[in-house]
Amino acid sequence: MHLLHLNLHRAGAINATAYGCFTGNKAQEIIVARNNAIELLRVEGTDMPKLVSIAYQPAFCVVRSLVAFKMVQMTKDYLAIGSDSGKITVLEWSAETGEMKAVHTETFGKTGCRRIVPGQYMCADPQGRALMIAAVEKQKLVYVLNRDQLSRLTISSPLEAHKTQAICFCVCALDVHFENPIFAAIEIDYGDADQDPSGEEAESAEKNLVYYQHDLGLNHVTRMWTTPISRTASFLLQVPGGALGPSGVLVCGENWVAYRHQEHPEVRTPVPRRKDVPPERGVLVTAGAVHKSKDMFFFLLQSEYGDVYKVTLDLDPTNKEVLDVVVSVFDTIPIATSLRITRRGLLFCASESSNHLLFSISSLATEGAVTGRRCDDGEIGDDSDSAAKVAATFVPSATLNNLVPTDEMESLAPIISMLVGDLANESTPQMYCLCGQGPRSTLRILRHGLAVTEVAVSDLPGRPAAVWSVPKHIPVSAAAYFIVVTFTNATLVLSVGDTVEEVSNSGFLLTAPTLEVQLLANGSTLQVHANGLRVIAGDRAPQEWRTPGRKTIEKACANSRQAVIALAGGELIYFRLDDTSNMLQEMGTKELGHEVACLEMGEVPLSRLGAPFLAVGDWTGAVRVLSLAPESLLTQQAIMDVPHSPHSLCLMEMAGVEAGASTAASSATSSAAPMGAPQLYLYVGLENGVMQRVAVDATTGTLSDARSRFLGTKPVKLFRMGQGALLALSSRSWLSYSHGGRHLTTPMSYETLQYAGTFCTEHCPEGIVAISDTFLRILSVERKGEAFNQQAIPLRYTPRQIARLDGQGDQQPRLVIVEADADEYNEAEKAEMKAAAEAESAKVKSEEDGVAPMDTDQAVENGDKPPPPPPDADGNEDEDEEEEEAMQMPIRGPVPPGPGKWASCVRLLDPAQGTTLECLELGNNEAALSVCPVTFHSRGGEVFIAAGTAKDLQFHPRSHGGCFVHIFRVLENRLVLLHSTEVPDVPLAMSEFQGRLLVGAGKSLRLYDLGKRKLLRKCEHKGLPNMVVSLNVMNDRVVAGDMAESLHFVKYRRLENQLVVFADDQVPRHIARSCLLDYDTAAGCDKFGNFFVLRLPDDVSDDIDNPSGNRVLWDHGMLNGAPNKLTQMTMFHLGDILTSLHKTTLVPGGAEVVLYSSITGALGAFLPFSTKEDVDFFVHLEMHMRQEKPTLCGREHTSYRSYFLPVKNVVDGDLCEQFGTLPLDIQKKIATGLDRTVGEVAKKLEDVRNRLL
């Protein structure tokens, strides 16, 4: 078994960010780390800034930390990456290749995320003179950065700043201007704690803020200053120095923010707390950013609940002494892994569990906001209880006061589970992803295809055949556009303004069907109708040209300067705009001798006076390319046979398509086209629903590199859209375009269209006007480049599992989702608390009327009311309100004081409508963790819902107050609890098994039958090692995944009523999910991001099913293991925990794949190879790629993919697909090594992806 790994949807989660200007030109750019890739995002636009992805580069290593630094007098930032490669990598933007290129890769340690190998933390001196890279424990290295004569970056050998037995929490560089660079670190020493049996040393262990100074003169690093800081400190922020500020650091931790600097007393401020956060709980600052401008600076900090605080320092007039650290409540936004403020004051929030957001800061005024000020009372400790006494309190507001969201970047992370199936009856399966966490949980329905926005729909009289849109040529009402619709015997002209109206005086011939409408370069409009050509200029009478001998025009094509018609019988007539008279003139004719099936000429290329080629298809299945050059007018240049008669043609240039294709095409002229240069392609749509793409040589017209793709069951109609896109209509509509250097052909998620044209107006620059049945539709496609479109349905709590509930009879299938949130009050409790809080605040208010308010109460009261609207947002009141409505941010409600509190519900959902039919809250502090539909053999086909719950569940160590399996009946879309049965341990996996319910509860597997009052235990197996987390069944076999001991194959022996483990694995694997591939084979993934396939050996499988003689098959193996062992078929490290695995096909007729979703929001597939030849090709391609394409951080690809166990029988498609990004000579070298041409390699890569989607 050999598999190919292909990514289908990139991970959405961001784990580190760096802000800078990487490409130059003063751009505001953010580089984000997506676990094992980096992406360069640029902020574009001024009034509504947007994030645009500039480059995406897989790194094939774990990217842990990013830091941007700029050398003095340089305009571009460098990026340093701390990864698991044991190397420090410095990257620079390379404009030629359009990607970040490594300029330095220096090895300092072993690979892997190890305790003492640096890479976890990194910071750079603001002047770009040195950078520090630190490990979780002990090691810190300082690299000195410099420039050589050619002003290239040089990097020194590392200077050590190690401290044994010291755990490091954070590092940060100080702004010291041009003094010796200083780095600050938070450290804690465990040496004493390890030696003290009483535990007192650990209790009293001190956290220290340590300054490391790099002495530029002596070129060494010294531990310069150490001071004890708050025990909970965990985060440092640089305080600007020089003329702007006092330098030093802001130490953030639980409950406190403190300013620290050498020879400066500590100034600490309690962080304002939410009113509903109990005093037992801390408020941990987890992210922060600093903004500097010429004359001021401020910080934005975010707490673990999502509240953003603005921090300013009150300085004395010399700017050297900090008088106060002012922490004021700013806004509440999604919890971020990282915050960045750009130069122009935009805030980028890399969210943990929702879409990433870009905000503009509309106001910095914090008058009236709840504000914390310094607390000098040395008696007050660092703990939450003490902090709660002195901290200001506030009520978070769901509306934003100071921030305005300007852009959103979609992210599916975290995907907790996924279900694949065609529940909405659309012939292609949908993916139902459980995404998000807490109040931001959603069910996202993913469909393959581009999202289409419907701009307008109008009904037409009769069934139209074709449609065009042209700018108006006569002043008719306020319309800017005509839409010309043709029927089989007439033409209709509509004017499009605010309304769509029929126009009769447009100049178009309305009594005959139209074949083509085209705006000419001289400003007039050409209409080709069945009997002739008509040129309509606004001010003159239409000019008419009639066909000779009353022949009818069969086919026509035109562009802004040329027109070609084909008459019945196969006569071609070529027209051209004459240069002198500026009128359309007949230039030549040609008798083909056979009927023409389709004609196409393409647009006039830039800086030319006409399209160079005409493509003609005939019914016998040949496509000819004729020249339109005056010296060789209508002579044949090339011919191509196609497997079926062509239905439509399209000649167009595609920009930025992979170099492979362009080389193949230009090889004839041996002029190597530069990478990404536009290439002329001929697209042929065939009668049988296949589209072919052929590269056309721009000078000779020769055809090469044919690629075909099946689009649907109907003949393919092709239409050229604006901006280098091609629309192909068959039984599905497809858009073919190039995006991010790749050529994509993606279906549109819309109904079948019969005909289409471009529709370009101010509001809708990339619109499509189309016909489906009798309707005229105006559409637009926005999110190009995404293979899937999403529909999100909000959920109440973190979803845990999803199950499909098939209806009886013709009822549509429904979905059941169990949701559970740890550390959360449920809806009823929240409502109660809210009511209580309201009553209390009313009471406080009435008291305030009489008595002068106290400070904190004042703050509370202010917090209740949103501050007045920002001064610069002086607009319409109503509009503001509407805007605010849209800015609602879900806020995590009151938080319980301690662990062990749960809120949970079971939800029944209609996937077609996206509506919740029933949502049952579970009381009693129960958490629903698993769900499955079950049909009991004794209950005549009725489908029940089984939900596994645990009461008072706690982790570390796991404990619970009783676990249950609830059985629900589904009666008319209601869930009705039938009964509950107690089980011994947490039921994390359940499955229907031979008309009974199989429950994996802790170490035991139990088989239940339905009873009247509870489930009846029929059979039990108690011997699984730790805990059952996944169950897959087939026939009489069960595959049980253990939390730490891999998969177990279990057989149910019906006669003896026994569950027997007959095979297990040789390697302990911490199973996360598993799925069955066939009777003997199971795929699984573990907690460390590995994917593997395990198989039962053939002879064992046979022996188990047909036990022969008296062989004792059921005895124990060695060391309490099973008698048989599974063999590992494949192994692959993904670097991402998989949260679901499904064996499925993604499109009808597509290849069967193992589809996965991952916690970081990626979707991908493992595609089995069907031939030895393919295996051979891809294995060798991968081998070449490993040699020719150095990975970004210098981590060896094989070593990364073999992170925990050696990679086996899986080819990394992500690496192979980088083939297109290599320079041409290397592409050629690899292709030669593979005995193929570059075009063939590129084609093979494209084909393999097309088999999937």
Binding site: I116, V136, A193
Partner: protein, 89 residues
């Protein structure tokens, strides 16, 4: 051969000094477990997908999960067992 053995011991000391957590003949169960836990935590903190996984399970923010793990590095297995006097046994 003897020289090799001698050198081996010498480099052994070096390895123990250089790589924290390298065991020796007298490694106690506590030391071994503590080292293993610290190694595991360091690995978890380095892999952000694992932090993400834990954060969803516990409904805590990723920053909090990372902080809790890092705090556990100080004494992952509790205080060391009281030292027995070897003579008593």
């Amino acid at each position: 051969m003897a020289a090799d053995r001698f050198n081996f011991n010498k480099s052994w000391d070096h390895i123990q000094a250089k790589f924290v957590g390298t065991g020796h003949g007298d490694t106690s169960k506590f030391e071994w477990a503590t080292n293993q836990h610290r190694d595991t935590i360091a690995s978890n903190v380095g892999h952000s997908d694992i932090i993400d996984y834990y954060s969803v399970a516990q409904n805590l923010s990723q920053g909090r999960v990372r902080y809790n793990l890092m705090e556990k590095m100080l004494q992952p297995c509790g205080p060391p067992p009281p030292k027995d006097d070897e003579d008593e046994e």
